[in-house]
């Protein structure tokens, strides 16, 4: 190996491959990291960012590929292995023990002097560490659960540094931070860089990446796309690299909704702790696509409309009439059906028959006296089985024996039996194979043609473009755009999806 190359890089991950039960999460993914630099790692949802970082930190093992760390081949079999080598990660979800103190959290696993705990020593070491980091606002003896999220994040970072880390990975660290807290974090990263620490920074927010990173590496579908110097690259180019896939789907050219179609659902200024001031209209026969990155607040809007969460403001109108929805029960009464993104958990009862699942939401129409009217259940479920082509030999089959696509169709049938006119599809094709996908698409289009109105939440841009008549884009809990399909292209949508709006969020006052 050419020596000049290896000396340049602190860390090189070459052709890393990782499969999870058939899902090819990483295919030949490569990353390299220089000394004392901040490398931004970007990519769409499912591009493999978090997965490759978990491989680096020993949480997952790669199926193939190799890691070179300070010029030597390395394999990290456990988080402890990686820590000992000087690689730490600040996780996306805070991973702290709320009932323990700050000092106890930071030095977990290293708390003993001899047989007994050394509390005084822990506090002293924490104070020294904080001094080095220029942090004075956190008491090492505070319970972590009593701290603000921002301070908890700093504790997490302090923990990462305390392992004498040479490489620190930040997995979307600012997702829950306020602007002031973010500034503190960035100053900290700057100081770490001065001290020679190398950092990998995963984020969706382009403005942040521009601000703190030296280079940007883009991943797409588990593969390395390219690396650019941050000061020489335009945000547009990064976005292009993120989405630059071959489009298998034929996008919709123009809206199929007649101009005079009545508005069935109108949402005005909808707000909650997760989303801010969302307004849109949904017309009869329209498919409205909700685009955005993970955590942008799309599912939250659906849950608000469906009455599963509490809203803090805003009005909902159905057919021009203002209504109040306090629970999913209310929503169903108004003809709104919600198909959860987590089908198996919220959507259906896998251990029951297809027929039972189909009539589950409308059971009261299937009772004769005290007993269930099995004959009517079978007749009606057969009707829907044929109508939307659920592939099962009989409706008495248990739902768990059906493929993902046919399970999804069964859930759709459930809401059709209930006579829902507004259907909210949350990631309708997640975990469904390609063939079944196009059937779901066909079915959704057929439903729209019949006059049903559909909101479709999807993280896959091609899907959004194939299905939607209009596209609503969300970013960080705010609505950044609503575009007719004729005016939208992938690039524009992605730009709005990564646009970090500085609208003050609910937790601004620390």
């Amino acid at each position: 190996m050419d020596e000049s190359v290896t000396v340049d890089y602190v860390l090189e991950m070459n052709n890393i491959e990782k499969r999870f039960q058939g899902v090819h999460a990483l295919k030949s993914c490569s990353i390299n990291l220089k000394r004392a630099e901040v490398l931004a790692l970007v990519g769409e949802n499912g591009a493999g960012k978090s997965t490759i970082m978990k491989v680096l930190t020993g949480i997952y093992q790669a199926d193939s590929g190799d890691i070179t760390y300070f010029g030597e081949k390395a394999i990290f079999k456990s988080p402890r292995d990686a820590q000992n080598a000087g690689i730490s990660i600040v996780h996306q979800e805070l991973n702290l023990m709320g009932h323990l103190t700050v000092a106890q959290n930071i030095f977990i696993g290293r708390e003993c002097k001899g047989f007994f705990l050394d509390e005084k020593g822990l506090e002293k070491r924490t104070n020294e560490l904080f001094k080095r980091m220029n942090i004075s606002s956190i008491n090492p003896r505070s319970r972590v659960m009593d701290l603000t999220v921002g301070k908890q994040q700093i504790v997490e970072i302090a923990k990462a540094i305390s392992y004498d880390a040479k490489v620190i990975v930040f997995d979307e660290p600012t997702a829950t931070l306020t602007d002031t807290e973010t500034d503190v974090l960035f100053k900290l990263i700057e100081e770490l860089k001065q001290k020679g620490v190398s950092m990998i920074y995963i984020s969706h927010r382009m403005d942040e990446i521009k601000r703190i990173s030296d280079r940007v590496t883009v991943l797409r579908d588990g593969e390395f796309v390219g690396t650019r110097d941050t000061d020489k690259v335009e945000i547009d180019e990064i976005i292009q690299m993120m989405i630059g896939r071959i489009t298998y789907e034929q996008p919709k050219e123009s809206s199929h909704v007649p101009a005079d179609a009545p508005v069935v659902l109108k949402v005005e200024g909808l707000s909650s702790k997760d989303v801010e001031n969302v307004s849109f209209e949904l017309r009869k026969g329209e498919i409205l696509g909700f685009a955005g990155l993970m955590g942008a607040g799309r599912t939250e809007i659906a849950r608000l409309i469906f009455g599963a969460d509490k809203k803090t403001g805003g009005n909902v109108y159905i057919n021009g009439e203002q209504i109040t929805i306090n629970s999913p029960r209310d929503a169903v009464r108004y003809g709104i059906g919600y198909l959860s993104e987590d089908r198996k958990r919220y959507g259906c009862v896998l251990g029951m028959r297809v027929a039972d699942n189909i009539v589950l939401a409308s059971l009261k129409n299937y009772v004769k006296g005290l007993f269930l009217n099995e004959k009517k259940i079978t007749e009606d479920s057969l009707e829907y089985k044929d109508k939307i082509d659920i592939r099962t030999p009989t409706v008495n089959q248990l739902l768990k024996n059906l493929s993902g696509g046919n399970q999804q169709k069964t859930i759709i049938a459930k809401w059709l039996v209930k006579n829902c006119d507004i259907l909210i599809f949350d990631e309708p094709t997640r975990g469904i194979d390609v063939g079944a996908k196009s059937e779901i698409y066909k079915l959704m289009n057929a439903l729209a043609n019949e006059g049903k109105s559909i909101i479709m939440i999807s993280s896959e841009l091609p899907e959004i473009f194939r299905m939607s008549d209009r596209i609503l884009v969300m970013s960080s809990g705010t609505q950044t755009a609503t575009l007719p399909i004729e005016e939208a292209d992938q690039h524009t949508v992605m730009k709005y999806a990564v646009q970090y709006s500085h609208v003050v969020s609910a937790d601004a006052e620390m």
Binding site: N95, L96, Q104, G109, N139, S142, V149
Partner: protein
């Protein structure tokens, strides 16, 4: 921190208040309750519950539960009794074997939870039935007796129950309480037990072998059950096969009353001790008022419900505080 500590202390203070109140109530209304003899009776019934409760406090703080306490106590005690009566082994050796059997049962619980990944509730529920059956099978469903104060081997009862009017058992319980206190609050084991109960995934990601430490908590619970078995044998002298069901609830109730959270991450042994004495006073007091056993069950249930509700309320409040601050 001050708020948090205040909340724990509040429940402990409340529990202590209930203890005093119960004692005074029974002293007024109970027959002969307020007497040195009765104090000895209360203490004697507190010993075995105390050992069980101290042990299971470790498990509950990890966020787990051990429902096999009662039956595995009887299982190990009855096997010890059999070895003593039928195989004429020296009593001291039998007692050691009793502790060993209970410890092994504890370790099996730990392995079921950490290696086979069974939910603690189910794993220990299964072991509850297994140990209850096992003790009966081994002993051929016959009761086994331990020497009483009147026997020639009276040293047993003198050492573990009382010597004249001196409560020797109390000394053992206090010593064990102090040792457990040190382990839980001053050693790595104790720290990991709290940490696992607070956020198991975070501990795992910190490079710590969660399974082993969790298993240790169940082993401690088992060991404590073994000690409890000795004191139970000294108190009741006759061990009947197939009994022990429900004993675990007396111990677990004591732990919860003392402010240890079923959600894990929070707990204290001093609280557990207060809870244990509440259970003991309640037991003795109700019978001194000539109320039959079902009343005791009834009131224990009410107190447990109150304690659990208080625990849930506390957890909910704590979460609300976090949300507002977050």
């Amino acid at each position: 921190m001050p708020d948090f500590i205040k909340k724990i202390q509040l429940q402990k203070l409340l529990a202590f208040g209930v203890l005093v109140l119960l004692y005074i109530t029974f002293a007024i209304f109970g027959r002969n309750f307020f007497s040195p003899d009765m104090a000895l009776v209360i203490l004697a019934s507190a010993y075995w519950i105390g050992f069980l409760a101290i042990g299971v406090t470790f498990v509950i703080i990890t966020g787990g539960i051990d429902l096999s306490l009662g039956t595995s106590m009887i299982c190990s005690a009855i096997i010890g009794g059999m070895l003593f009566r039928d195989f004429s082994l020296p009593l001291w050796l039998c007692l050691i074997i009793v502790v060993l059997i209970a410890t092994v049962i504890g370790i099996i619980n730990g392995l079921l939870v950490t290696r086979l990944k069974l939910p603690p509730f189910i794993a220990t529920l299964g072991m509850m039935m297994v140990t209850r059956g096992f003790g009966s099978i081994i002993t051929g469903t016959t009761a086994k007796t331990y020497p009483s104060l009147l026997d020639e081997t009276a040293w047993f009862a003198k050492v573990f129950l009382r010597n004249g009017s001196f409560p020797t058992g109390l000394i053992w319980l206090i010593v064990y309480f102090i040792i457990a206190l040190i382990i839980l609050n001053k050693t790595k084991l104790g720290r990991y037990i709290f940490a696992i109960g607070s956020n198991e995934e975070a501990v795992r990601l910190s490079g710590i072998n969660v399974a082993n430490w969790k298993c240790a908590a169940y082993a401690i619970s088992g060991f404590s059950v073994g000690l409890g078995a000795i004191f139970f044998a000294a108190l009741s002298t006759t061990i009947n096969p197939g009994t022990g069901n429900g004993f675990e609830l007396e111990a677990i109730a004591g732990v919860i009353i003392g402010g240890t959270s079923l959600a894990g991450g929070v707990g204290s042994l001093s609280g557990t001790m207060i809870g244990v004495f509440i259970m003991a006073v309640l037991k003795t007091g109700l019978s001194s008022m000539s109320l039959p056993a079902p009343f005791q069950l009834f009131f224990t249930g009410v107190i447990v419900l109150l304690a659990v509700w208080l625990d849930m309320y506390r957890v909910k409040k704590a979460n609300e505080v976090k949300k507002i601050k977050g």
